[in-house]
Amino acid sequence: MAESAAAATKPSSSVKLVLLGEAAVGKSSLVLRFVNNHFQENKEPTIGAAFLTQKCNLPHRTIKFEIWDTAGQERFASLAPMYYRNAQSALVVYDITKPTSLVKARHWVAELQRQASPGIVIALVGNKSDLSTSADGETASSTDNSKKGSSAASEDEANGGDDAPAVEAEDDGAADSDPRKVSTKEGREYAEEEGLLFFETSAKSGHNVQEVFTAIANAIPETQMKNVKGPGMAGGAQSALGAGNERVNLNGPRADSKDSCAC
């Protein structure tokens, strides 16, 4: 992510991204982590929607995310089309401790597939992975492990030390009362069926958060990007470059982005 020194000369484009998902799954927390690298316990529900921007440096270009963090409450649902209408990407978030939130996520995915722009890149995100007490590779698959040693520095401490007991988890640590209620496998299989990117994240520890956004940035065909300012780069040239990538296979970006997590 931080490897590029040539940011100034890289083409830069903007990508509209919308976050959808049941109330309290952690959408705002993910955005807060991504934008400010900060986490807040007991965050109050979003009212309406928040609009934020954040740059993301890729090796060959700079992406400026224009993020709509929507409220999960039902009463705001009717406004959702306004946010996803022109979005090139969506994060559909559920909470791994709350099975109903995955049901809701499926609804959002279906709605996006029906109504959003056809090329929209969707990532399914199971958040609050820090609450899972099962050892890596048990309920959770290798997801948590595959990233060890990479840039997500805080995750180890967070998982170990200052991790406050989960809201619902009274006896944190007891093997048979793992707050996790949705297995990694279940999430991943659904994502594969629907051709979605898939991540398990923790906004609290920071685990995989950057990776989700990077993966999305990589998955968006350049032709679909609005050129903000492409210094020395004609629009034509860029679309020519990107032409081969059009209708990109969602497995593609995961393969070539070294930052994004493999699922």
């Binding site: 928040a50 609009f51 039902e74 406004l79």
Partner: protein, 648 residues
Amino acid sequence: MSDATKSQSELQDDHGDSPAVRPNPTSTDLPTIALQKPEPEAGAHVSTEEKPPPLPPRPARADSLYQAPIVGPAGLRAPPSTARPRLQATATTAVSRTDIHTHSYQDGSRETYAASKQSSPPPTSWGGWSSIKRLKSQEASDSASIRSYAPTLGTAGDVDSLLVGFSGQEQTSGWNIFNAQLKETGLQHDDVFEEDMVLENFDQEFDEIDALEGEDKTEERLLARWQAKRKHFMILSSAGKPVYNRHGDDNLISGYVGIVQTIISFYEGAQDQLRGFTAGGARFVVMSQGPLYLVAISKLGESDLQLRVQLEALYMQILSTLTLPNLTHLFSHRPSTDLRRPLQGTEPLLSALADSFTRGSPPTLFSALECLRIRKAHREVINDTLLQKRCESLLYGLVVAGGRLVSVVRPRRHSLHPSDLQLIFNMLFEAEGVKAGGGENWIPLCLPSFNKNGYLYMYVSFLDVKEEKDPQQSSQASRHDEIAVLLISANKESFYDLRSMRDAVVEELEQNGSMAIIRTAIRNGRFAATDIVPGTVLHHFVYKSRANVQFVMPSYEPHFTTLLARRRLLSLYHTIHAGAHAKNAHLKVHHCISRSSISLAWITPSFELYCVAGPSASRNALAQSANKVVQWARREEERIFIIGGAVF
């Protein structure tokens, strides 16, 4: 479950389709003046569906004894020839008074609106008084046309002649009149303030009840903690379903909720409406609003009227989330509806309101707004900027600094209501939801006093958001120096329009120096009482301009810095406010003496002044300072209040 989801989707539909543009009937019919003047007439019609009477013409300013158009119960209006034409053309303020303040009396139904009674004393006590005034009015009429009436000065003409002379050259004349009034009319009342209320450990009032260590968590302990709270708010449906409690979860207090519900329905059954009762040192006030009961339980010594104002605000918040048609629909559809689900996410807003009432909220108590004090010319530049950069879809535009209004732009035909602004300010500056999200926000909300039937869309952008390393620490402090631009539209698609308007406005404000002026004003904070009246005995005061529906007050420093001291001060204000506004109060001046303070409420048709001094201050010194404050407020009117705002 399926029922619940069904009503959900209907809710959404309504949400999408509901007409957002049209304001409530009461406000559509408003004349072009933004400010609904708090004349008795204006107060009397509020919130009903009926058409408000036309606003009285805006009287001219009472600059001096000789210039003042004389007002009295019979003559509240200025001579039409002088005042009216301009008044219609020039708006006073962007804010209008609403019913909140005037809602009800201890014994009265909600339909009894107070304003008329509050501001027009019984004829008996006025006979002599107004005849004096009439006399003076004749003297005044000659010179009336000579001096400028300063059309922007809205407060003016309804100035009670109490004030006449105050802004003249001789300070003593005001003092004499003041004294004379006390003597002549006997409109004075002393009160001994029971100060040592249950304010012990007041700082624990806001602690969560179940935030206890493990073994302490017995129900008994929790209930004891619940009972120790000085203030409770409960909202329940007519069917008895809990909707909201400030303290304690449903399980813990279900017994209490049941009792309250039983008592209410007992009275309902007897075709009688329960309004309030006292039990165990707590005052219970019950308000029934459509399908909801709202209950306030207070040991803080607030009056029923004041508690009703608070309940009304909570109800407004519910309407703001749902709109009235949605609320009614939910219950007519299914009387046993659990409103918690549709209200999901509103709880923090209700609690933020509730807690601000419990801490003591001047805007709520006085039903008025506070503005940022800046020079008139500076404010005009800001107004002009908003007007110039205004986009098509804009309905209202506001610049707000730490909960204080800086500037307003609005259509000529529409006013902004303090109760609506209170909801917005609560959402932005008291609750965390919007602020903590960072970025810009797009918020559908119903402004019930504007139009309780539909949603508007509010663009919110906080400027100056500093990097907060330790948000726990800094959020409290920084919240009060944050500048927010609020742009409200009836069009839910107008986010990007409003956003570019914001960009243009902010750029221009930076360029023309306004932003720096605002920042300086925020940094300087509120003035000290001694800045206004050097050496004054006053520790604190609140001056409310009734015409502008705005108030001004000095800093809480140095006497009222702690939560407790501030609550004491506000309790005192509650007491003298209640005394001065009690149903049969024809009192113009209300004194209150306690072991630790001496205070005074002074009510006139044009302003209300509440001031507090230390216990050793003499009554004379207090009254003298009060006069000085009034003089100052008149002089500085255009700095401390927004008069007119920018109108398009």
